[in-house]
Symmetry: C2
Subunit: 243 residues, 2 copies
């Protein structure tokens, strides 16, 4: 029976085996939620970079849009910030049919350090079912890699891990890792009022302070895009659902 | 208002500031529970080492007892294993009035990496109140350092962190760290039946398999030694309560 394990910080990745596993990268607020929203709404592919200048360079090289935030607000000289609303119909900039280079510190770190896995996919509450379906088809051990907040444990990514473990619990072993057990318990507490529960989180309070409450509420919608699965191919994220 | 934060693995310590803080080292099963029990029952001081041969050398150098386990059983050539029962009245070996060199991989790592803190103390459920009282007197930020299991997140150490945060919640900030929030939630779930709750843990099941269930139940007793506080002085752990 394949298992679900959860790595609470990219800093802990050296302790985990990646080969033979599916890595699910999670940065609920807001990188992975934005990437899922982008690919679900017609963005052709996404480049993920840590540094702002690398993001600008990729934008020029590939003639694609650029998206970046620093300290919670859109960085100067970039087409988009880190909000999923930038990719929704009716937003100021048409993103459908375009590629986007996204700069995100925590999310990119988690992604780049996980490339040794058999498959690297992007998870968010928005595409929870797509991630669960993919894991089921692969029948391999799953490692949820939480981007965390500057390397530290972060509640919303952990609770996502618990939600995924719950969806997989019938055919995956979710009880042999203490991290997964803890995430499951936290998810079960959070589930009846996910928004209220996560509003306690330090990171969430920081974000709300930045008037991103609208983003926060959107990022917690379960299965908004149940067939969108961003997957790493060569040097970019594409939507497996498009294939 | 000073704060309580929790570091889930010694591997994450580089992300935390130690200076100005009180570090509470936790390895509930069983290193820190054994150290508390030893000092509460008349052991004069404890040396903590990672390696077996260093432990033997310390034993010779200081003419003290040696305690070590590997894979859950007493290591050959050592006076004691890693069980707190070795220090209780009526055990095979008289330990009262003696010093002990203890070898413990996870616990020693956590301890050695935390020495930059203003004070380094040993925490366990057995001396929870002593730790809380000390933190209150210091009025400094507290960092609970979980020894974990081979660097990975471990449920029983985390739940201890939650229990300590609860005791300090009236005069410490326990809500500005997601790790502390999560630990508090897990502790509140665990509290009504701590033994039953922790029996789910992978590490605990491993230990019970090794017929250490008696140790497990003992290590979960709350405030068995409410005035015993092992504290690091120069090169050893002594009982602050003895001073």
């Amino acid at each position: 029976m394949p298992s679900v394990d959860i790595c609470f910080s990219p800093e802990l990745l050296p302790l985990y085996q990646l080969e033979g596993r599916v890595a699910v990268i999670v940065d609920i607020l807001r990188a992975t939620s934005s990437i899922v929203t982008a690919l679900a709404n017609g963005v052709t592919h996404v480049f993920a970079t840590a540094e702002l200048d690398e993001c600008t360079a990729l934008g020029r090289q590939h003639g694609c849009l650029t998206a970046a935030e620093r300290n919670g607000v859109q960085a100067e000289g970039f087409d988009l910030g880190n909000s999923p609303f930038g990719y929704l119909p009716g937003s100021a900039l048409e993103t459908r049919g375009r590629a986007v280079a996204i700069s995100t510190t925590n999310g990119t770190q988690a992604l780049r350090r996980s490339l040794g896995a058999d498959a690297v996919v992007i998870g968010a509450f928005l595409n929870l079912q797509a991630v669960a379906d993919f894991a089921r088809r692969q029948q391999k051990d799953v490692l949820v890699v939480c981007a965390g907040w500057k390397g530290q444990f972060c509640l919303e990514d952990t609770v996502f891990g618990g939600a995924l473990a719950e969806r997989l619990a019938d055919t995956f072993d979710v009880r042999s890792s203490d991290a997964t057990l803890a995430a499951l318990h936290l998810w079960q507490q959070a589930k009846p009022d996910l928004e209220g529960y996560l509003l306690q989180s330090a990171h969430v309070r920081r974000l709300n302070h930045l008037e991103a409450h609208q983003d926060f509420a959107f990022c917690l919608r379960l299965d908004e895009y149940p067939a969108t699965l961003p997957i790493w191919r060569e040097d970019r994220l594409v939507n497996l659902g498009d294939r």
